[in-house]
C-alpha cells in the first residue's frame, strides 16, 4: 500500500481536522478577509503542502493550526482536541532563522526537552540522535552565527522534532536558501520524515518543491484566502534524483503552474 493510499484510508480519523475556518482582520474602517470557509483534513503521517500566491492566507492558516493566531470562525481539531493556543504537540519551522543565538546547536535542540524537565542524560541522548540525523554532530557546540543558512534550518527542524510533536508545521523553511542547498534540504527532509513517521504541513510558493516533497497539494487562492483545489501527487513513495525527470512530475508541475497563473 502506498503512503498516499494509506493517507486516504485513514482519512476517517484525521490527525488534523479543520472545518468552516475563517479569519477576518478588522480595523475601525476596513475588513480584510484573510481566510474563508476552509475545510481540510490531514491524516497521520501525511506530507501535505499548501501552495499559493502571496496574500492567499497560507501562512495565516498555518499559524492558526499552530495556535499563534486565533480563527474568527470555525474549528481546528488536532487529535480530536480543539486548538486553544500554541503547544509542544505542534512544532514549527519558520522561514526566518529562529535559532536562539545565545544557545549552542545542542542547547537549541534540547530547548523543548529542558522546558519539560527531561533529565540531562536523556536530553543528551535525544540531541545526539537528531544531530546525527541532520549530520551536524561536528557542530554540536557551535553557536548559530557559525552556521550557514541551510545548517540553521536543519537545526531548527531537529529542534522541533526533538519534542516529538504530532505535526511539524513548516512555513517556507527553505525560502531563503540557494537552489543547491534547497535541493539537499528537501532530500534530507524527506529522509527525516520517513524515519520519524511524523506528519508535515508545508508551505511554499515553489511549485517544484511542492511536487517533489508532498503526497498531497492544496492550491490556495487569494481574495478571500481559500482552497481552490486538491491534488494527490502520483509519484512513487521513494523520491530521489530521478523523481524530477518523471513525466508525472512535470505534468503535475505544469498543471499547478497553470492553476496558479489564472
Amino acid at each position: 500500500m502506498t503512503l498516499a493510499a494509506r493517507a486516504r484510508t485513514s482519512a476517517a480519523e484525521p490527525l488534523i481536522s479543520i472545518s468552516g475556518l475563517g479569519k477576518v482582520y478588522r480595523t475601525k474602517k476596513t475588513e480584510f478577509v484573510a481566510l474563508k470557509n476552509i475545510d481540510l483534513n490531514i491524516a497521520s503521517h501525511e506530507f501535505l503542502t499548501l501552495i499559493g500566491p502571496s496574500g492567499c492566507g497560507k501562512s495565516t492558516l498555518l499559524r492558526i493550526i499552530a495556535g499563534l493566531e486565533e480563527a474568527t470562525e470555525g474549528t481546528v481539531l488536532v487529535d480530536g482536541e480543539p486548538v486553544a493556543g500554541p503547544g509542544a504537540d505542534r512544532g514549527m519551522v519558520f522561514q526566518s532563522y529562529t535559532l536562539f543565538p545565545w544557545l549552542t546547536v545542542r542547547q537549541n535542540i534540547e530547548y523543548g526537552l529542558k522546558l519539560k524537565g527531561v533529565p540531562v542524560l536523556e536530553r543528551r541522548r535525544v540531541s545526539d540522535f537528531y544531530l546525527r540525523m541532520i549530520r551536524l554532530e561536528r557542530f554540536a557546540n557551535a553557536y548559530p552565527k557559525q552556521l550557514s543558512g541551510g545548517m540553521k534550518q536543519r537545526v531548527a527542524i531537529a529542534r522541533a522534532l526533538a519534542n516529538r510533536p504530532k505535526v511539524l508545521l513548516m512555513d517556507e523553511p527553505f525560502g531563503a536558501l540557494d537552489a543547491q542547498t534547497k535541493q539537499a534540504m528537501q532530500e534530507l527532509l524527506l529522509e527525516v520524515w520517513e524515519k520519524e513517521k511524523t506528519t508535515i504541513v508545508f508551505i511554499t510558493h515553489d511549485i517544484e518543491e511542492a511536487v517533489f516533497l508532498s503526497q498531497r497539494i492544496c492550491v490556495m487562492g487569494a481574495g478571500p484566502g481559500r482552497i481552490i483545489s486538491e491534488h494527490p501527487v502520483p509519484l512513487p513513495e521513494k523520491r530521489g534524483e530521478g523523481t524530477r525527470m518523471l513525466p508525472a512530475f512535470t505534468a503535475l508541475k505544469r498543471e499547478l503552474a497553470a492553476l496558479l497563473k489564472s
Binding site: 495556535g67 499563534l68 503547544g87 514549527m92 529562529t98 536562539f100 522546558l115 548559530p144 508545521l169
Partner: protein, 268 residues
C-alpha cells in the same frame, strides 16, 4: 586618448563603513589624543591664555601625582565610586526588570511608560531641593539623585530593547512548549542581555555626571567636592586634575564593560 593607459585612479582613503584594521585605528586614536595635548601645550606654553584659566599640562600632571599621593584624595575617589555604584546599581536592579516587563506586555507599557516619559523630561538636577527635603543631605541624597537620573531612562530603554526582540523567537518558543513566563525568562531575558549591557555602559556615564552635580552641593567629600573646593581658591590645576581623574575612572569602567561584553556574549 584611445588605447593609452590611464593611470589607475587612487581610491579615497576613507570609505563608508570600511574597516581600517587595528593598527591604523590605534594610531589614529593616539594621534587624536596627541593633537588635544599639543593644542593645550601650545595655548598654555605661549601663555596665549592666562595660566589661571588654563594651567600648563605638566602642572596638572604634577597635581594629579601629588593628589594621588594623599590618603585624603583616595578617600574622595572611594566615596565617589561608592555613590555612583550604589545609585547606578539600584537603578539597574529596579529599572531593568520593570523595563523588560513593560517591553514584553502592552498593558505594562501602557501603565508604566507615559508617566516615565513625563518624568524623564524633568531634569534630575531640579529634584535636588526636593531630595534634600525628603532624605536630608546625607549619603542617600547623592544616591537618590543618581538613581532618579538613571532609573526612568533605564526603564524606557530596557522596554525599547525588549520590544526589538524578533517576535518569531518568542513564537518559536511557544511552539516548543514554553509558557508565557517561560518565554520571558528563556527568550526575552537572554536575548536582551547584550544590548542591556551596552545601555548600562551608556548610563554609567550619566551616573558620573549626576554624581558631580550631587557633590557640588552640601557635601564635604567626593571628587565633586574636591573640585568645588579647588575652585574656591582659584586652583585651576586641581580642578583640571579632578576632571581628568573622573574622566579616567569613566574610561576605566567603560573598558570594563567592553571586556564584559566580549566575555559574556561569545555568541554575538
Amino acid at each position: 586618448m584611445p588605447g593609452a593607459k590611464q593611470p589607475p585612479k587612487r581610491r579615497p582613503a576613507m570609505q563608508i563603513f570600511r574597516d581600517i584594521g587595528p593598527v591604523r585605528s590605534t594610531v589614529l586614536a593616539v594621534a587624536s589624543f596627541c593633537a588635544i595635548l599639543a593644542t593645550w601645550l601650545l595655548l598654555s606654553q605661549l601663555e596665549l591664555v592666562d595660566p589661571v584659566f588654563l594651567p600648563k599640562p605638566h602642572h596638572v600632571l604634577g597635581e594629579i601625582v601629588r593628589q594621588l599621593g594623599t590618603a585624603e584624595y583616595w578617600s574622595h575617589i572611594g566615596i565617589s565610586i561608592f555613590r555612583v555604584t550604589a545609585g547606578f546599581l539600584l537603578a539597574c536592579f529596579l529599572g531593568i526588570p520593570i523595563g523588560i516587563f513593560a517591553g514584553a506586555f502592552r498593558a505594562g507599557s501602557a501603565v508604566l511608560e507615559p508617566p516615565m516619559e513625563f518624568i524623564r523630561y524633568m531634569p534630575a538636577v531640579a529634584f535636588i531641593p526636593l531630595i534634600m527635603v525628603w532624605v536630608g543631605i546625607g549619603e542617600w541624597a547623592k544616591i537618590l539623585l543618581i538613581f532618579i537620573g538613571c532609573f526612568f531612562q533605564m526603564v524606557l530603554m530596557a522596554a525599547d530593547i525588549t520590544r526589538r526582540v524578533s517576535p518569531d523567537l518568542v513564537h518559536v518558543s511557544f511552539t516548543l512548549g514554553a509558557s508565557r513566563w517561560q518565554s520571558v525568562w528563556t527568550v526575552l531575558v537572554p536575548a536582551v542581555r547584550p544590548e542591556l549591557l551596552t545601555m548600562m555602559r551608556l548610563m554609567l556615564g550619566w551616573a558620573w555626571t549626576y554624581l558631580v552635580v550631587a557633590e557640588l552641593i552640601a557635601v564635604n567629600s567626593g571628587l565633586g567636592y574636591a573640585i568645588m573646593k579647588a575652585q574656591r581658591f582659584l586652583n585651576t590645576d586641581q580642578i583640571f586634575a579632578g576632571i581628568i581623574i573622573i574622566g579616567l575612572l569613566g574610561l576605566f569602567s567603560d573598558r570594563l564593560f567592553a571586556v564584559m561584553h566580549r566575555r559574556f556574549f561569545p555568541w554575538i
